[in-house]
Structures are given as structure tokens and as C-alpha cells.
């Protein structure tokens, strides 16, 4: 996703607490890679979150995504905040809190169903 947005000309900053994950970024990545936790206010400040137009939380853990996304939305007032929530029931809950959630479980199930019905 960072690669796609970067290639489209957006200013991208990517946060991860595992330095190895940055190895997947392409060599011509023009954005910023920060070794910081996204559930940490100081880490987010370093990423200049106050200037961000959008914040996307896509770690493998629902709880981390939900916490980071809520900090971005409620503490830093980022206009657009999207988070990945695998648990479909919990995705509904976070939407009731004003977050935009995407559940890969639901999306994938729908895709499979469409494919089967074709």
C-alpha cells in the first residue's frame, strides 16, 4: 500500500516497530520510514501526524490497529482514518465509534462467494 500511494505521488510516512519490515519497500520509495510504534503519541508526533490528511492502520493485530486509529482520530483529529479489523463483529463496533474499518475476512468472503456464483 505504501508503494502504491508513493508511486501515485502522495507523501507517505510508514511506521513499524520491526526494522526488517522496511526491507519490503522498493528502492525508489520516496517517503519516510520510521522505526516507531503507532500506538505511541510521541511516535506519531515524529511522523508529523498533525499534518496528515489520512491515517491507515494495517498491522496484523486488530487491537493495535484499533488503538492507533483511535489515537489518530480522537487525539490528533486526522480527517480520514481507516483501520483493518479481521473480526467482522468488532469492525461494526469500531464503526459505531466513528472509525472506518475494513474487515479482510468479510471482503475475502464476498469475493469468494461472487466467484463461486459466477
Amino acid at each position: 500500500m505504501a508503494r502504491l500511494l508513493d508511486a501515485d505521488g502522495h507523501k507517505v510516512t510508514i511506521l513499524d516497530s520491526d526494522p526488517n519490515s522496511f526491507e519490503k519497500l522498493p528502492v525508489d520509495f520516496k517517503g519516510v520510514a520510521l522505526l516507531e510504534s503507532a500506538t505511541d503519541e510521541e511516535g506519531l508526533e515524529k511522523a508529523n501526524i498533525r499534518e496528515a490528511d489520512a491515517f491507515v492502520a494495517v498491522t496484523r493485530e486488530d487491537d493495535k490497529n484499533a488503538m492507533a486509529a483511535q489515537i489518530a482520530k480522537r487525539i490528533f483529529d486526522v480527517p480520514r482514518v481507516i483501520c483493518r479489523i479481521y473480526d467482522p463483529l468488532r469492525e461494526e463496533f469500531y464503526e459505531s465509534l466513528g472509525l472506518e474499518g475494513i474487515s479482510p475476512t468479510v471482503v475475502f468472503a464476498k469475493l469468494l462467494k461472487e466467484k463461486l456464483e459466477r
Partner: protein
């Protein structure tokens, strides 16, 4: 009372045993299957094996009839997620979260979880209470009521030899009790003068904390 505990670490296990001993109905939710087997042998059928941040697991735990939900895993994001769901989705009357990273306490409050227990902060207050170097010890926070209860120690200037009524405490403060060095208990009145070695209880509105700090040091 029906109490659901999340997280079968040392804290969760201890709470589970103590609360059971007090006669409460308790359910401990733990992710790790091996730990669960071990707990079941020891504590019986008060263990539910599963991810306590998942709606399905919480429903199975009977969260709709829980009187209290306590999240004590060693991951703050899990504790936040579970307590938010317990409070905001299932309306559990009492919800308490353990804080592992001290700076997360502020975030939890902003995200609607006022009642937290922060071990690092408790240890610090305990050190302050046990030594005669620090004038101010936080005893309790009544976050919902916006009040803080402090113990103030008279170590010398600027408090010593002042009348209690002369202290420029934040408005709405109360000093209900003074403990003299020898252990004598005094309810302060207009004439009460502070002496070195005295300690007094002080209840202040939360927003007056900085003011109290400035007065005592």
C-alpha cells in the same frame, strides 16, 4: 457479583483466586490453551479459553450479565480493546483496565476508559509514601468525580509554621484530617498550625493538582 477477568498472567491468576475466595462468581478468559489446561486443573471450571477481545468469546462468557470487567493482560492495546467493547458495546457497569506503559493512561482516559490501574505509578507513589523526601503522595483518584486525594507531608518550608487556613489551596479543596508526628489525629480548624513531621489529607479538584504541587514544594 459476576466478574470477568481478561488475561491469565500472574495478575489475572491472583485476582481470580482472591475474588473466588471472597465468594464472587468469576470467569477468567485466557488465550493460551496450555495455560488454560493448567488453570482448569487448579481452579476448576472458571476458565474460558479464547481471545477475550473477540465479540463471540465475550458473548460466550456471558458479558451481558457481568457486573464488572477487568482487563489485566500485559498488552495495553488488548486491554483497551476489551474494556471499550465491555463498556461501550455491552454496557458493563464497572470496567477496569491495567496499564503497562505509563503514558498510555492518558490515552485510555481520552478514549473513554477512566478507571485504570498503572503499576509503575503505584510503585512510585508507594516509594514517595515510604520515604521522607517527597512532600506529596497521591492516595486515590476519583476520576469520574474529578477529585484527587493526596497525603501532604510537612518537611519544612514552605508549609511548616503556617496555619492550615492560610494555605492557598485550589478552590473546592478540603483538609479533613491532620496526623501529628506522634500519631495524634487532629481535625484542622482555624487555629491549627502545621509543624515539621505533620502529615495531612487533602482532597482537591483534579484541575488543581499543579497548584497543590506548587504550594507544597
Amino acid at each position: 457479583m459476576y466478574i470477568i477477568l481478561l488475561g491469565g498472567g500472574e495478575v489475572g491468576y491472583y485476582l481470580c483466586r482472591e475474588l473466588l475466595d471472597m465468594g464472587h462468581e468469576v470467569l477468567l478468559i485466557e488465550k493460551d490453551a496450555i495455560k488454560c489446561e493448567h488453570f482448569k486443573e487448579e481452579l476448576g471450571s472458571v476458565i474460558l479459553c479464547g481471545d477475550g477481545c473477540e465479540m463471540a468469546v465475550l458473548t460466550k462468557a456471558g458479558i451481558t450479565r457481568a457486573d464488572m470487567f477487568v482487563a489485566v493482560t500485559d498488552e495495553d492495546d488488548d486491554n483497551l480493546a476489551a474494556t471499550q467493547i465491555a463498556k461501550q458495546k455491552f454496557n458493563v457497569p464497572q470496567v477496569i483496565a491495567r496499564i503497562n506503559k505509563p503514558k498510555d493512561e492518558r490515552i485510555f482516559v481520552k478514549l473513554g476508559i477512566e478507571h485504570t490501574v498503572n503499576a509503575a505509578a503505584l510503585i512510585l507513589e508507594n516509594i514517595k509514601a515510604q520515604t521522607a523526601i517527597f512532600p506529596l503522595v497521591r492516595l486515590l483518584s476519583f476520576k469520574e468525580k474529578g477529585l484527587e486525594l493526596f497525603l501532604v507531608k510537612v518537611l519544612g518550608a514552605p508549609l511548616a509554621d503556617k496555619r492550615v487556613v492560610e494555605l492557598a489551596l485550589p478552590s473546592g479543596s478540603e483538609v479533613p484530617l491532620l496526623i501529628r508526628q506522634g500519631g495524634e489525629l487532629v481535625v484542622p480548624d482555624l487555629r491549627t498550625i502545621l509543624e515539621i513531621g505533620d502529615q495531612f489529607i487533602c482532597l482537591i479538584p483534579s484541575e488543581g493538582e499543579a497548584m497543590l504541587k506548587a504550594i507544597v514544594s
